[in-house]
């Protein structure tokens, strides 16, 4: 199936200039580097959004605005409620610590009134409305808030960024394909006289296109592997250092093994696409002659 890649020395001599001559492999290397980095970022964002969404899917908070005095009532109501998996009152010290991050030392002052907060995890299939009604009955005015609702804007932003990164990958792929078409046309123009001679003595379009598609395939593979390897090094450096907090935030590894395999396959996918694009460009150009 891939025998067209293995050219004989005589076939290789037909197109002058060896591999890595001309800008094509370097352009493809740069494009592939950018593509892999952006694709990795997109996959990491998608994973993070998934983990966060899954984590908050069944998590709720009970907020009691006028203090901790009514918290035990709410706790009692929640303890007996059907569908409640876990109940955890958030300690005041934890809330003050959080506030301190936002407000500075003033956030830790004891005279700043704080609401009572209770984290509630529901079992799958439990009705949040039923639990909310039970809390409201025990402590009128208490709010039963889904974490999902609070984090929705952030999740929306992450998902938008994910789609944006995938769109960028497609755009870069399209730009790479355009560069390959230009390279193929350039190679055709450079070798116009050779092609005319070959056609004149009975070469088929497939034979001529084979020469170019082989060259483009090898250039793409070389450039693609180099670009992907460079991107891999950068991603390892990032993942080994500054991205740890992102993993903490996401609650899991940024890239799964399937994601890594997909990224590793990008140079191969790129080579196949570049080869097909080059072949079509060459065949289309050849059809304009007799």
């Amino acid at each position: 199936m891939l025998d067209w890649l293995a050219a004989s020395p005589a076939e290789r001599r037909l197109l002058p200039g060896g591999r890595l001559q001309g800008p094509t492999p370097y352009v493809i290397a740069i494009m592939m580097f950018v593509m892999v980095v952006i694709a990795a970022a997109g996959l990491a964002l998608a994973n993070a959004a998934g983990v966060v969404a899954q984590g908050v899917e069944s998590r709720f908070s009970v907020q009691i605005a006028d203090g901790a005095a009514k918290a035990p009532l709410a706790l009692r109501a929640l303890a007996g409620a059907p569908g409640v998996a876990a109940v955890r009152p958030v300690p005041e010290s934890e809330m003050r610590q959080t506030l301190e991050r936002w407000l500075g030392p003033a956030g830790a002052e004891a005279d700043l009134p704080l609401p009572a907060l209770i984290d509630v995890d529901l079992k799958p299939g439990a009705s949040p409305q039923a639990v909310a009604a039970r809390v409201e009955k025990a402590v009128p005015g208490a709010r039963f808030v889904a974490h999902e609702v609070m984090l929705a804007p952030m999740l929306r932003a992450i998902r938008s960024l994910t789609w944006l990164s995938f769109a960028l990958v497609l755009l870069i792929a399209a730009a790479t394909a355009a560069a390959v078409v230009l390279a193929a046309r350039g190679a055709l123009d450079t070798n116009r006289s050779t092609i005319e001679v070959m056609h004149g003595i009975g070469a088929t379009d497939d034979q001529v296109a084979g020469l170019f598609q082989r060259k483009i395939a090898l250039d793409s593979l070389t450039g693609g592997l180099a670009g992907a390897a460079a991107a891999g090094v950068v991603l390892l450096l990032v993942a080994g250092g500054r991205a740890v907090w992102v993993e903490d935030f996401a609650g899991g590894p940024l890239l799964e093994i399937g994601d890594v395999l997909l990224l590793a396959a990008l140079p191969l996918i790129g080579t196949i696409v570049a080869t097909l694009v080059a072949r079509q460009a060459v065949l289309r150009a050849l059809r304009s002659s007799l």
Partner: protein
């Protein structure tokens, strides 16, 4: 511009195409080696009507035609050996056979010691001999040559004519465009097609007793 041409070439015939410069000799040859289609009329080769044949069908017929171009059209970055080997390799012949056939052919045209030389380092006459070797290496059924002895001395012209005559005896139909009267005189059995202003001059007188038809052309181009 060719007009009102109507003639047949016999399989195994030997033809000279003559006429003043601009008479349309090269245009007629282009029609014969399928580098051009007639704008009107028809052209039939090897018993097939090829004037409007789909372009995918043409390579098959082109492999049966050897062409010596006036400007040689050698591939500049390939050696003389590779240039001569091109038709055999395109036809998918085994590399061992290619090697022996090409060595033999280069020896025949006196270029055995120039096999690895590239065209820009060859003289005009040497390039012409490489072009002739490339045209005949695959034993074509039809050989079309545009001034094949234009750049060689009389001795080499004689050898080339001898080669073409030998090829003709093996059954190849040969048509040579030339101004070289001595070449025509040295080939008594050949017939002459004379063109002027794109038309045949005295076609019945020029093509005396044409043999049984194999290729025919009725074209305007």
């Amino acid at each position: 511009m060719l007009r009102d041409l109507d003639f047949r070439l016999a399989a195994g015939g030997f033809y000279f195409l003559t006429g003043p410069s601009g008479a349309g000799k090269t245009s007629l040859l282009k029609l014969l080696y399928l580098a051009q289609r007639p704008t009107r009329g028809s052209i039939s080769l090897f018993g097939e009507e090829l004037g409007e044949a789909p372009r995918e069908a043409l390579p098959h017929y082109r492999r049966r035609i050897g062409v010596v171009f006036q400007d040689f059209r050698l591939v500049r970055h390939l050696s003389a050996f590779d240039n001569v080997a091109l038709p055999l390799r395109i036809a998918g012949q085994d590399e061992a056979e290619v090697e022996s056939s090409v060595r033999e052919m280069l020896a025949w045209v006196g270029l055995a010691d120039r096999a690895s030389a590239r065209p820009p380092t060859l003289s005009g006459g040497e390039q012409q001999r490489v072009a002739i070797a490339r045209a005949v290496i695959a034993r074509p059924e039809l050989l079309v040559a545009d001034e094949p002895t234009g750049n060689v001395d009389a001795e080499m012209a004689g050898r080339i004519l001898h080669l073409l005559t030998a090829l003709n005896r093996l059954g190849t139909t040969i048509i040579i465009a030339t101004h070289d009267v001595s070449l025509i005189a040295a080939t008594p059995g050949a017939q002459i097609i004379r063109l002027d202003h794109g038309a045949m001059v005295d076609p019945t007188g020029a093509l005396k007793n044409p043999p049984s038809p194999a290729g025919s052309a009725r074209a305007d181009a």
